[in-house]
């Protein structure tokens, strides 16, 4: 009997192993475990055995049944997997096929730089103020201490409208963002810290001038503000904007009707190997003018009905297009306003390149 069981085990396991497909495997199962099956037959003999024989033979028969059952399951798993593999092998696609255009939207350099400015100046406590682009000559000139006969008015190449406002003031396109200074001081009590970015217009068109361009104005009005604060603010801003600490500024006395004293600010540049100008370097190869600034003229403060003996401060103005060109190595100003997709894709910014202090204000 011993020999019979062992031999049957051998035969059945090898039959399971040898089953080529699920049908053959089922046949083996029926042969072994079916109603007429060999293992089933052995199990039926257990009842006729003496208790002693059952002690020894019983476990061997059960073990045989378990071994065969397990072998059947294993073999079935292997055959299923082989069938799946065969099916999947037939389903292969060319994974090199292109999936079509990714969204190629972009943010214009002017917008990006405006957001960078807002981010940097927010850290210094400056809010962003706005004002109309269609201005009147009082806000654009007179309140800024530029009377009608002032040579600076002629220098501004102003675009005019025929219209006058309700107070008889000539309407025009603002020539700078400085009227936002006036609107802010008139509408808001000091202390004031604002920047005012936006579109500005002058009747000027050549390779380096466009009739529409962008400026940012800065204004601080408080008690005890001096030119020292102005210098610190500009240094801090320029270093943060260009993301370099080795930037040297050169301050030059200058003239603007709405500031006194006034100064222009040059930033030092060095040339890289290809000769391109790079902002920064402790020993500059040259200077580039980037902004005008000064202490707000007392006549301007008075024009806004503030007491100049109590309040003083500084203002500065700077071309945003130029800032973008200097930071991102853009050569042609006119291309800013052409809407050429190739240019916008090349110089534009990804939607998620949001300037933040944590991520950095450049992209």
């Amino acid at each position: 009997m011993t020999t019979d069981i062992d031999q049957l085990r051998q035969e059945l396991l090898s039959a399971v192993e040898g089953a080529a497909d699920l049908a053959a495997l089922e046949a083996v199962r029926v042969t072994a475990l079916g109603k007429q099956g060999a293992v089933t037959g052995l199990l039926k003999t257990l009842g006729a055995l003496s208790p002693e024989e059952r002690q020894t033979t019983g476990p061997r028969i059960h073990s045989l049944r378990e071994a065969v059952t397990e072998a059947l399951a294993t073999r079935k798993g292997a055959l299923d997997r082989a069938a799946l593999d065969a099916r999947l092998a037939s389903e292969t696609l060319d994974m090199s096929l292109p999936i079509g255009g990714l969204a190629t939207g972009s943010v214009h350099p002017v917008s990006q730089v405006m957001e960078e400015l807002a981010e940097i100046f927010a850290d210094l406590g400056f809010a962003v103020a706005t004002g109309p682009e269609i201005e009147d000559d009082w806000h654009n000139f007179t309140a800024l201490n530029i009377p009608e006969t002032h040579p600076a008015r002629a220098m501004h190449d102003t675009f005019y409208f025929d219209e006058v406002d309700g107070e008889g003031r000539q309407m025009l396109l603002r020539t700078h963002t400085s009227p936002v200074q006036i609107r802010t001081m008139v509408s808001q009590k000091p202390p004031i810290r604002i920047i005012a970015p936006g579109r500005t217009y002058r009747s000027d068109s050549d390779a380096t001038h466009t009739p529409m361009f962008h400026q940012v104005e800065g204004l601080v009005i408080d008690r005890g503000i001096t030119m020292g604060h102005l210098k610190w603010t500009l240094e801090t801003f320029v270093k943060a904007f260009f993301e370099r600490d080795d930037i040297v500024l050169r301050l030059r006395p200058s003239y603007f009707p709405f500031t006194e004293p006034s100064m222009e600010v040059d930033v030092g540049y060095t040339r890289d190997k290809s000769g391109r100008r790079m902002i920064g370097g402790t020993e500059p190869d040259g200077w580039m003018e980037i902004l005008g600034s000064g202490m707000v003229h007392r006549k301007v403060i008075e024009a806004c009905d503030l007491d100049p003996t109590e309040w003083q401060g500084f203002a500065f103005g700077c071309g945003i297009d130029r800032l973008a060109m200097l930071k991102y190595g853009i050569d042609d100003l006119r291309a800013f306003f052409d809407g050429d997709l190739r240019w916008l894709r090349h110089y534009g910014f990804a939607a998620l390149d949001v300037p933040t202090l944590a991520q950095g204000v450049g992209a």
């Binding site: 939207g105 214009h108 000027d204 210098k231 301050l251 222009e264 190739r342």
Partner: protein, 794 residues
């Protein structure tokens, strides 16, 4: 303002070189825009003697010269008719750049004869017009030396930008005075500069010229002196050299004197030919329509606000701006009248602006010349005329008086620290101001010199002190910083803008910035502009845009002309309406919405639903309540009447317009279709109520939602949205979502009707729906639909 280093040194006793002068100028606020030295390019050209001259064997008009340029004989082929043995001229050898013809010399062979360079003409060296022959220098010119150095051309030329407040620096002397104050040398006495014993008036015995001012507003002072018996030849070499060095053309002695004094001292003068005058010369207001031919040859029509100088017969001068052609001096002039007047700066500015006429005189008078310098100016002018033209001076006529009242400013030296941020001791401030010509009393009452019209308050004095002290000494003072982390600064509008912009970019649109102004035709296609420039730069940039679409559509067309098949642009900017400038984000798709692809095999052109998707996408990102938006009418005249719409919270709360552009709009803009667009009115988006950061309490539903499909037959022209809203309202508690999955017309659907397939999601709350509950809801849905004329499809 241009001048040379040697000219500056006529006034300034200094050992500073050009670089030191340039650095100092920029440091004190006189920005050096350019510094050049004409000698740099000419330096290698040497003085040379022609040793022998022989005919060229192969050419009649050429000669073969032997030339000594200091290093022995060289053979040179020359075509100049005046080339001859013994002539001393200027030689250029191989490798040298000749600026006139813009060429570099090389060893060459001319008709078989070797030539080692050339003998130059003045024109070839850009030193004059003369090209009749090669330069002939004096016999004793030193052979072998650099011509430029020998001729005194080695004189750096400065070009300095003078800010509008600094009239005093519109003359070389003023610049010298500023440099002296900055410690760069000593200012020479003016009389010495002009080799005069003193600047006292040079009054003659003859009767003073008959001049007067009838317009004391425009011309408060009119000083004049006549000189008779003059000869108006060429001006002396030194004066010509100075004028030429700064790019002015010498004309005649008398004209050159006025130009020279204007540049040297910032003092404009005018000289009249007395033979051309009739009667008294009077400063008066012009008559409306009066005309004058100015020295530039142009005729100007004047009005009654303008000051002129006229005699009994005609206007001879647009006062302080430009003289008249008729009475200008010529070679035959023998009797002259020298005018040294003071014109009111504001009058000059207005007249100049009205006539669009600029001149050296206007630039100086409108900034305000030194009102105390009329006698000195006249004395210097008369001295120059007498020295160089001869003649006899008359007595001087002084009509009127210039406003010379001295201004005194009460100054507190502490201001340099409290305004300027710099520490400069009071005595040092006093010294700086005095070097600039201010008179400073012990208690710092500061009297302003007459030539500094720009200074009228303490802040101006602070500027004077710190610019001379040096802004490089200004310390940086940190702005006080608010405690804690920086507070957010963006306004609600700014937050909307930022989100909308980045959403549009994320949706695949490239942000463009287009002109704020359009042509009248483009604006007319959008109902016309509300603001038209009176002085546009061109007809294309004339009307402030009432819409962003024209600029974007034109940009899109330019891209399509370059071969782009799918153009997706957006712009965030203002529309300029009568009452306000409205912040708007406009997206535009031109051409394909989706390009060709191997999955579909073909491209899909942009349609109105693409525009609707963008409008809703951007609005949602900007925080607009998109689930409450309704379709309100078509877009309007610029849009396709059946393929456009407005989205709003009500007829008076329109947030966006989208759709296909009207074919007439495309035609007016000269762009190809299809073009679809969406205008999103950012300023109409209602601001979110500030309810703090905490969200409303929320627990996800515990029970499974049930989905049911319905198909309704409705009138073909029913807006699907109406049916959807009706069903949404049928059971507001149970129905949480209604979506349209099918729109069908054709077989099985009666004519004039369409079939709409809708899926309704039902959400049970405290217990699951049983059959009866589901039936009750379905009945409510069917009866709500029936109110829109819908019948359940069998």
């Amino acid at each position: 303002m241009k001048f040379t280093l040697s000219w500056l040194k006529e006034h300034l006793d200094t050992t500073a070189d050009a670089t030191q002068v340039a650095d100092a100028l920029t440091r004190i606020g006189l920005e050096v825009e350019d510094i050049s030295n004409p000698a740099d390019v000419l330096r290698p050209f040497r003085i040379a003697r022609v040793l022998t001259a022989a005919p060229h064997p192969q050419a009649d008009k050429l000669q073969v010269l032997s030339v000594d340029a200091g290093e022995g004989p060289l053979q040179v082929v020359c075509g100049a008719p005046n080339a001859r043995a013994g002539l001393v001229g200027i030689f250029g050898g191989p490798g040298m750049y000749v600026p006139g013809p813009e060429m570099t010399l090389k060893l060459t062979s001319i008709r078989g004869v070797e030539s080692n360079g050339m003998m130059c003409s003045f024109r070839e060296l850009l030193l004059g017009e003369d090209h009749n022959g090669i330069v002939e220098l004096p016999e004793d010119a030193p052979v072998g030396e650099s011509y430029a150095e020998w001729a005194g051309l080695d004189d750096p030329l400065f070009d300095v930008a003078i800010t509008p407040n600094r009239q005093d620096c519109m003359g070389v002397r003023g610049i010298a005075r500023d440099l002296a104050a900055a410690g760069l040398g000593t200012l020479k006495p003016l009389a010495d500069v002009y080799r005069m014993a003193s600047l006292a008036p040079i009054a003659g015995d003859g009767p003073a010229p008959d001049v007067r001012t009838d317009d004391v507003g425009g011309c408060p002072a009119f000083f004049a002196q006549a000189v008779s018996g003059v000869t108006n030849g060429a001006s002396p070499e030194w004066m010509q050299a100075k004028l030429k060095a700064i790019g002015q053309k010498p004309i005649s002695m008398l004209v050159d004197i006025t130009n020279f004094v204007s540049i040297d001292l910032g003092r404009p003068l005018h000289v009249y030919d007395r033979a051309k005058l009739t009667g008294a010369l009077v400063a008066r207001l012009a008559k409306d329509g009066e005309q004058v031919v100015a020295l530039n040859g142009k005729t100007y029509t004047l009005d009654a606000t303008m000051t002129v100088i006229a005699d009994d017969a005609a206007v001879h001068d647009i006062g302080g701006i430009m003289g008249g052609e008729h009475s200008g001096v010529s070679e035959t002039t023998t009797d002259v009248l020298i005018e040294c007047a003071y014109f009111d700066p504001d009058h000059i500015a207005l007249t100049g602006q009205k006539l669009a006429l600029t001149s050296d005189a206007r630039q100086r008078f409108e900034r305000g010349v030194d009102p105390a310098f009329l006698d000195d100016g006249l004395a210097i002018a008369t001295k120059l005329v007498l020295d160089h033209c001869g003649g006899t001076p008359s007595a001087i006529m002084r009509a009127g008086a210039a406003p010379v009242a001295a201004k005194t400013v009460a100054y507190d030296p502490a201001l340099v620290a409290t305004l300027g941020g710099m520490d400069v001791p009071a005595d040092r401030q006093k010294a700086i101001l005095e070097r600039l010509g201010f008179v400073v009393s012990d208690d710092f009452a500061v009297t302003v010199p007459t030539w500094r019209r720009d200074v009228d308050g303490p802040a101006d004095l602070v500027e004077e002190v710190i610019r001379i002290e040096g802004l490089d000494k200004l310390p940086s003072t940190p702005l006080p910083r608010a405690e804690g982390v920086a507070k957010p600064t963006a306004t609600p509008e700014q937050r909307i803008e930022r989100k909308a912009r980045r959403a549009a970019a994320a949706r695949g649109f490239a942000e463009a910035v287009t002109w704020s102004f359009l042509s009248e035709k483009e604006a007319a296609a959008f109902g016309g502009g509300h603001w038209t420039l009176s002085n546009p730069i061109s007809e294309d940039l004339k009307v402030m845009r009432p819409s962003l679409i024209p600029g974007l559509a034109r940009a899109a067309q330019r891209n399509r002309d370059r071969g782009e098949r799918s153009v997706k642009l957006f712009e965030l900017g203002r529309r300029y309406l009568t009452d306000a400038e409205r912040q708007t984000l406009t997206v535009l798709i031109a051409g394909e919405a989706q390009g060709r692809d191997w999955r579909t095999g073909k491209a899909r052109g942009a349609d109105a639903f693409d525009a609707k998707a963008e409008a809703l996408g951007v609005l949602a990102a900007a925080g607009a309540p998109v689930d409450r938006l309704q379709l309100i009418g078509p877009g309007g005249e610029t849009w396709h009447p059946g393929r456009s719409g407005q989205l709003g919270l009500g007829p008076k709360m329109i947030l966006a317009t989208f759709g296909e552009l009207h074919p007439e709009t495309l035609r007016a803009l000269d762009v190809e279709g299809p073009v679809v667009a969406a205008e999103i009115y950012l300023d109409a988006i209602p601001a979110k109520r500030d309810t703090g950061r905490t969200r409303a309490a929320y627990a996800p539903a515990a029970l499974q939602a049930v989905r049911r499909d319905f198909a309704f037959l409705v009138a073909a022209d029913l807006q699907a949205d109406k049916l959807i809203r009706a069903i949404q309202g049928a059971d507001k508690q149970a129905i949480v979502e209604v979506s349209l999955f099918d729109v069908f017309t054709g077989q099985g659907v009666p004519e004039g009707q369409k079939s709409l397939g809708l899926e309704v999601v039902l959400q049970p709350t405290d217990k699951s729906f049983d059959e009866a509950a589901l039936k009750a809801i379905a009945d409510k849905i069917v009866s709500a639909a029936a109110k829109q004329g819908a019948t359940l499809r069998g």
